[in-house]
C-alpha cells in the first residue's frame, strides 16, 4: 500500500472545526456549571488594604467571593525545579507583585452576574513604587540560576584576541519588546470535583500531564485523582505550555462552591495572567578579517523576568553553533521587574536571538562589502564548534541556494536606497533561520477492533498544528491500512503519557511512540487465529519511545533561509512586505500540507514581530496599556503578501525513528532580521529596536 506519511492529506479534524463541532475546553457542556471571574489588581506593587466583599456578595446570583482573607490553603511551593513550573498567585496572601495580578475570584450562577459583581470589589491598597521596565533595572542584571537547555554563559577560544585581530568590527545593541501570544482561543478551564479528592479539568493547555502534576501538588492529592481533558486547542504558542494561576483558581472556586465551575480568561487578562515573551537587550560584537571570515563573536543577552520567579529568554543559544568562529562568548543575564513572569513564546530564544545575530551579520556584510549570502557561506559551520560534534543533518547551503534562486536575489542592487518604484523604496533582505530538533519520551496505545478498524491513543495535544492528522498517518502506515481505518484520540490523561506540546517536539516524540505501539499491535494481530478474531474482543498494545540514544553523538538542528522584499513609502514611512520566499530543511516532512501551514504561520508571525507586536507597559504603574487586539497589533490579511515556502526533505536517521526534526517554531526565526535587513537596504536606516514602526524610518 502506498504510504500516507509524506502525502498532503486534509486535516482529520477540519470538518469538525469549520462546522463548530470541535469541543474546546470552555465549550464542554457540564450540568450546573457556575461561572468564575478573576478580579485583578489595578496597581503594580503593594498590599491589599481593603476589599468591599459585602458589596460583591450582595449582588444577585453570587455564590462565593474568594479572596486572600478566606481562600482555602493550598500548596504554593513548587515541588520540582522544572522549567515548566511557575510561581502562582492563588490568593494566599495580600501581596501584589504585578499589575493585573489576581486579587479575588467571584463565582456566580451566570457569567454576566459574576462579571458585574466582580466590578463592585472597590479594592484599596498600600502601594509601593514600581520598577516597570527592563531599562529601569539594567544596572541590577544578574546571572540566572539555570536554563532549560545549556548554560547561561559559554566561551571558546579568546574573544579578546580575535576582536583585536579583526579588520571589520560590528558593535551594536538590538532590542526586542515584551510581546504576548494572544492565541485566538483565550485560556479557559472547567473544574469538576468528584468528592473532596478527585477532580476533572477541561483545560485549554499544551500539556495535560503538566496540569495534572501541578494541580495534584497544589491540592495535595494523588496525580491519579486528577484527570485533564483537552481535545482541541485554539492555538497555544507557549502561553499554554505551563499551568497558570487561573487553572488552580478555577479548581479552588469549584471546591468552595461545591459545584462545577467554568473560568475563562478575558482578552485583557491574556496580557498578564499567562506569560509573555520578555523584553531583551542584546549586545552583539562581531570581528572579521578582510575577507569577512569571523574571528570573534560576542552575544550578550539581558532579558526581563519577574521579581518572584525566573524565566530566561535563551537568545544567544543559536549563536554558539550558527557560524564557524574560533573565538566566541555568549551570556544570558536577567533583570527582575514588577511584572508577571515571562514564558516560552514561539521559538523562545531563536526568534528574538536571530533578530540580533542575523541583523549583525547583515551589518558585517556591508562593512566587508560582500553579499550577505556570501558572508554566511564564508562562515558556514560544517560542525557544531561549541559542542564539537557533527550535525545529524544540515542542508542550510541548499536552503540559501534554492530560496535565493526562487526569490531572484541576483537582481538585488547591493547599495542601500538604490532600488525604487514610484514613491516607494524597494529593499531585499535575507537571514538564516534555525531551531533545535528536540525529542522527549512519550507513549501511546493502539487497539485493534473486531470490525477491522483501529483506535490509537496518546495523551498528547493538537494545538492546531495537525497532531490528529499526522499521527493517523503514522499509525495507518505502520498498521498497513488506509487512514480511514484509524481513529486517533488525544487530550486525555487517561491515555498513555506524552510530553507537553512545545519546542517543536510533538511529531518527533509522540510519532515514534505511535509507530512503536502500532508495530507491536500489528505483531499481536498477525498472531491471531480466525477464531480469535471472530471472538469479538479488541486487542491492545502499548509502547513507549525513549529519546534516541544516538542523538548524543550529534548536534541536532533544523535550518532555513528567509528572503524578503519590502516596500517603504519614502515620504510617509509606511512599510509593507511585498513577498517572502523561504526554504526550510527540517528532516522528514510527514504531511506537506500541515507542514506548509506551520511554516507560513510562523512567517506571518515573524512579520508581526518585525513590524507590529509590542506589549506596552505604563512606566508608572506597570500596567499594560495595549490590552486588547485593537491596541496590540498583529498582522491583518492585508499585511500579508504571497509567501512561498520551499521544503527541503532531509533523510536524518539520527534524530528519531521517524527522521522528523519538528516544524512548529523555525518558521518565525530569522524573519525579523530578514525584514530589518530589507528595510535597511530600502531606506539606509538600520533599525535595531523592534517593532520597526514607521516613525523609526521617517527621515
Amino acid at each position: 500500500m502506498k504510504p500516507s506519511v509524506g502525502t498532503p492529506i486534509d486535516r482529520i479534524d477540519a470538518v469538525k472545526k469549520v462546522t463548530g463541532r470541535a469541543t474546546y475546553a470552555a465549550d464542554t457542556e457540564v450540568t450546573k456549571v457556575a461561572h468564575a471571574v478573576i478580579a485583578t489588581s489595578p496597581i503594580g506593587k503593594g498590599t491589599i488594604a481593603a476589599l468591599d466583599i459585602d458589596a460583591v456578595r450582595k449582588q444577585p446570583g453570587v455564590l462565593a467571593v474568594i479572596t486572600h482573607a478566606n481562600a482555602p490553603h493550598v500548596t504554593l511551593k513548587k515541588q520540582g525545579n522544572g522549567p515548566n513550573e511557575r510561581v502562582l498567585q492563588l490568593l494566599q496572601d495580600a501581596e501584589v507583585h504585578y499589575n493585573d495580578q489576581p486579587i479575588a475570584v467571584v463565582v456566580a450562577d451566570t457569567l454576566e452576574r459574576a462579571q458585574h459583581a466582580a466590578s463592585m470589589l472597590a479594592p484599596r491598597f498600600k502601594t509601593a513604587g514600581v520598577l516597570a521596565t527592563l531599562e529601569q533595572g539594567l544596572g541590577s542584571a544578574h546571572k540566572p540560576n539555570g536554563m532549560v537547555h545549556g548554560e547561561p554563559d559559554s566561551s571558546r577560544g579568546s574573544f579578546d584576541v580575535g576582536i583585536a585581530a579583526a579588520k571589520h568590527v560590528v558593535d551594536a545593541t538590538y532590542t526586542t519588546p515584551n510581546e504576548n501570544h494572544n492565541p485566538m482561543e483565550p485560556h479557559a478551564t472547567i473544574a469538576v470535583w468528584n468528592g473532596g479528592d478527585h477532580v476533572t479539568l477541561y483545560d485549554s493547555t499544551q500539556g495535560i500531564f503538566g496540569v495534572r502534576q501541578r494541580i495534584a501538588e497544589i491540592f495535595a492529592i494523588p496525580k491519579a485523582n486528577v484527570r485533564v481533558i483537552d481535545q482541541f486547542v485554539g492555538g497555544g504558542f507557549g502561553c499554554k505550555g505551563t499551568p497558570w494561576s487561573h487553572v488552580a483558581l478555577c479548581a479552588l472556586a469549584a471546591k468552595v462552591v461545591n459545584r462545577p465551575v467554568k473560568l475563562a480568561v478575558t482578552r485583557p487578562q491574556m496580557f498578564s495572567l499567562v506569560g509573555h515573551r520578555p523584553h531583551t537587550v542584546q549586545h552583539v560584537r562581531l570581528g572579521a578579517d578582510p575577507t569577512g571570515k569571523l574571528l570573534a563573536t560576542e552575544h550578550a543577552v539581558t532579558s526581563e523576568t519577574s521579581m518572584f520567579d525566573e524565566f530566561v529568554e535563551p537568545s544567544a543559544l543559536q549563536t554558539r553553533m550558527l557560524y564557524a568562529c574560533p573565538n566566541l562568548i555568549t551570556s544570558h543575564r536577567l533583570v527582575g521587574v514588577d511584572a508577571p513572569t515571562p514564558t516560552f513564546m514561539r521559538a523562545p530564544g531563536e526568534s528574538s536571538g536571530t533578530f540580533a545575530i542575523e541583523s549583525a551579520m547583515d551589518e558585517l556584510a556591508y562593512l566587508v562589502g560582500i553579499d550577505p549570502i556570501e558572508l554566511r557561506l564564508r562562515n558556514y559551520a560544517d560542525k557544531d564548534e561549541q559542542e564539537n560534534k557533527p550535525f545529524s543533518s544540515k542542508s542550510l547551503r541548499q536552503c540559501y541556494e534554492q530560496a535565493a534562486a526562487k526569490f531572484g536575489w541576483s537582481k538585488r542592487s547591493p547599495k542601500p536606497r538604490s532600488m525604487r518604484d514610484g514613491h516607494e523604496l524597494v529593499g531585499y533582505g535575507m537571514a538564516t533561520a534555525t531551531y533545535p530538533a528536540n525529542q522527549w519520551p512519550a507513549s501511546a496505545r493502539a487497539t485493534w477492533r473486531p470490525d477491522g478498524t483501529y483506535l490509537v491513543q496518546s495523551g498528547t495535544q493538537d494545538l492546531g498544528t495537525g497532531t490528529y492528522t499526522v499521527m493517523t498517518q503514522i499509525a495507518a502506515d505502520e498498521l498497513g491500512v488506509t487512514t480511514d481505518k484509524v481513529t486517533f484520540e488525544l487530550g486525555d490523561t487517561a491515555f498513555p503519557e506524552a510530553p507537553v506540546s512545545g519546542g517543536s517536539t510533538t511529531a518527533s516524540s509522540v510519532g515514534p511512540a505511535v509507530k512503536a505501539a502500532c508495530a507491536l499491535l500489528k505483531l499481536k494481530v498477525a498472531a491471531m487465529t480466525p477464531a480469535d478474531k471472530a471472538a469479538g474482543q479488541p486487542v491492545t498494545a502499548e509502547a513507549a519511545s525513549e529519546v534516541s540514544p544516538q542523538r548524543k553523538q550529534f548536534s541536532l538542528h533544523s535550518f532555513g533561509a528567509d528572503f524578503v522584499e519590502v516596500r517603504v513609502d519614502e515620504q510617509l514611512g509606511q512599510i509593507r512586505i511585498a513577498r517572502v520566499v523561504a526554504a526550510f530543511a527540517t528532516g522528514k516532512i510527514l504531511n506537506p500540507k500541515t507542514a506548509n501551514n506551520q511554516f507560513v504561520g510562523g512567517i506571518v508571525w515573524g512579520i508581526g514581530m518585525a513590524l507590529q507586536e509590542h506589549t506596552v507597559r505604563d512606566r508608572r504603574t506597570g500596567r499594560v496599556v495595549t490590552r486588547d487586539l485593537a491596541d496590540y497589533h498583529v498582522p491583518v490579511n492585508a499585511d500579508i503578501p504571497a509567501i512561498d515556502v520551499i521544503s527541503i526533505d532531509e533523510v536524518d536517521p539520527h534524530v528519531n525513528a521517524l527522521g522528523t526534526k519538528g516544524i512548529g517554531e523555525i518558521g518565525i526565526t530569522g524573519v525579523t532580521a530578514a525584514i530589518a535587513n530589507a528595510v535597511y537596504h530600502a531606506t539606509g536606516t538600520r533599525v535595531r529596536d523592534l517593532p520597526i514602526t514607521l516613525d523609526k524610518v521617517l527621515v
Binding site: 489595578p42 454576566e112 462579571q115 458585574h116 466590578s119 485583557p268 514613491h423 515620504q571 510617509l572 514611512g573 509606511q574 509593507r576 513590524l611 507590529q612 506596552v616 505604563d618 512606566r619 508608572r620 504603574t621 500596567r623 496599556v625 495595549t626 490590552r627 486588547d628 485593537a630 491596541d631 497589533h633 498582522p635 491583518v636 490579511n637 492585508a638 499585511d639 514602526t693 514607521l694 516613525d695 521617517l698
Partner: protein, 327 residues
C-alpha cells in the same frame, strides 16, 4: 456590565422624548456604545435603540446629498453618487475599521464616536473624560497615539473618526432635532468641542438632541477630494495621521482648497492656514509641500508622538498631489 433599561421606540417623537431623560444613551450601530458598556466605561441607565426609526435614507438631489443618520457606513461608502461627488468621504469610510464594523456602524454614531485612548477605555486608570476630575493618565504616560494639537492640561485624546475628517473638509452640514420640537442646522465645524477643562463634553449637542442627517453640497473641491490615511498596519488600525483634502483648480490655478487632519487632534481638525496658502497658487508639488508646512501651527508634541507633526504635513502633501492629479 450594569443592568439597564432598553427601549426601542418606533417613531421619532417617542425617541426624542426618551432621549431627553437623564442617564440615557442612544444606540445606533452599537459599535462604540456596546463596546464601552462591556468595558464599564459607559454605564447608562437607559438605552434607546434607534433601530426602529426610518433615518437611513440617502437622498440624492442635484447640488446636494442628504444622508440619514442611521445609514450604515457601508451604504454611504458604496453609494455611486457619493463616490463620484464626494470621493474623500467614501475613501475615509473605507479606510476605517473593518467590513463587519462598517456594516453595523451608522453615520450619526460615527460623528459621536468616542476616543480610543487606552486609558479612557481602562477603568483602572484615571481619565478626565471618563471620570471628570480624576486626572489624565496619558499626558505623562504612553501617548504615541495621542493628539499633538487641540489638547489641554486635562486631555490629549485623539478624535478617532476617519469619516469626520472627510466631512470637515467637505463643509458638511449637520441636522439636529430635539424633544422640544426644535430643529437646527449647524456647520460640521461647530459640532465638536475642544477638551479644555471639560473633556467629558465632546460636542455642542444638548442632552436629548438627536442628529437626524448630514447634508453634503456639491462643489469643485468636493469632486476632487481625497483621503489619505497612514497607520501602523494595512487595515483595521486607527490613523497615526490622515488628511482629507479637496482642490478646485482652473487653468492650473487653485481657486479653492479644503484641508482637514485626523489622528493628530482632539477633534476633526481644519487647516485654514494651509487652505489660504494654496488659494491663488499654481497646483504643483512644491506649492503643496509649502502649504502643508504651515499645518499644525501651535502643536504640542510629546516624546512618544512628536513624529506625527512631520508625518501629518507629508500626508497633507500626498493627499493634495492625489487631489491635484499629480501623484
Amino acid at each position: 456590565m450594569n443592568a439597564f433599561e432598553y427601549i426601542r421606540p418606533l417613531d421619532e417623537a417617542e425617541a426624542l422624548r426618551a432621549l431627553a431623560e437623564p442617564d440615557t444613551a442612544a444606540l445606533a450601530g452599537g459599535t462604540t456604545l456596546v463596546d464601552l458598556m462591556r468595558l464599564d466605561v459607559m454605564q447608562p441607565k437607559r438605552v434607546v435603540d434607534l433601530g426602529g426609526l426610518k433615518l437611513d435614507a440617502i437622498d440624492v438631489k442635484p447640488g446636494a446629498i442628504t444622508i440619514g443618520a442611521l445609514a450604515s457606513n457601508t451604504a454611504v461608502a458604496d453609494h455611486p453618487e457619493i463616490k463620484a461627488r464626494f470621493p474623500a468621504l467614501a475613501e475615509a469610510i473605507d479606510a476605517g475599521a473593518s467590513g463587519q464594523i462598517r456594516n453595523m456602524a451608522s453615520v450619526g454614531g460615527n460623528l459621536l464616536q468616542r476616543t480610543r485612548c487606552s486609558y479612557f477605555r481602562d477603568t483602572a486608570s484615571p481619565c478626565n473624560k471618563r471620570e471628570p476630575g480624576s486626572g489624565c493618565a496619558a499626558i505623562d504616560g504612553y501617548n504615541r497615539m495621542h493628539a499633538v494639537i487641540g489638547g489641554s492640561r486635562d486631555c490629549i485624546a485623539v478624535h478617532p473618526s476617519d469619516m469626520c475628517v472627510a466631512l470637515m473638509a467637505l463643509d458638511a452640514v449637520v441636522h439636529v432635532k430635539s424633544a422640544s420640537g426644535g430643529e437646527r442646522v449647524m456647520p460640521f465645524v461647530d459640532l465638536h468641542t475642544l477638551p479644555d477643562d471639560k473633556p467629558h463634553i465632546e460636542s455642542t449637542l444638548t442632552p436629548g438632541e438627536l442628529i437626524t442627517s448630514i447634508e453634503l453640497r456639491d462643489s469643485g473641491f468636493a469632486k476632487t477630494s481625497r483621503y489619505v490615511k497612514v497607520r501602523d498596519r494595512a487595515s483595521f488600525a486607527f490613523a497615526l495621521a490622515s488628511a482629507a483634502v479637496g482642490l478646485e483648480v482652473a487653468g492650473g490655478t487653485i481657486n479653492a482648497a479644503r484641508v482637514a487632519l485626523g489622528g493628530v487632534a482632539t477633534k476633526p481638525w481644519r487647516e485654514h492656514a494651509v487652505e489660504a496658502q494654496l488659494v491663488g497658487k499654481r497646483a504643483s508639488k512644491d506649492a503643496f509641500a509649502g502649504a502643508a508646512a504651515l499645518a499644525l501651527r501651535g502643536a504640542e508634541p510629546r516624546p512618544d508622538n512628536a513624529f506625527k507633526i512631520a508625518l501629518a504635513k507629508r500626508v497633507i502633501a500626498r493627499a493634495l498631489e492625489l487631489a491635484g492629479g499629480l501623484s
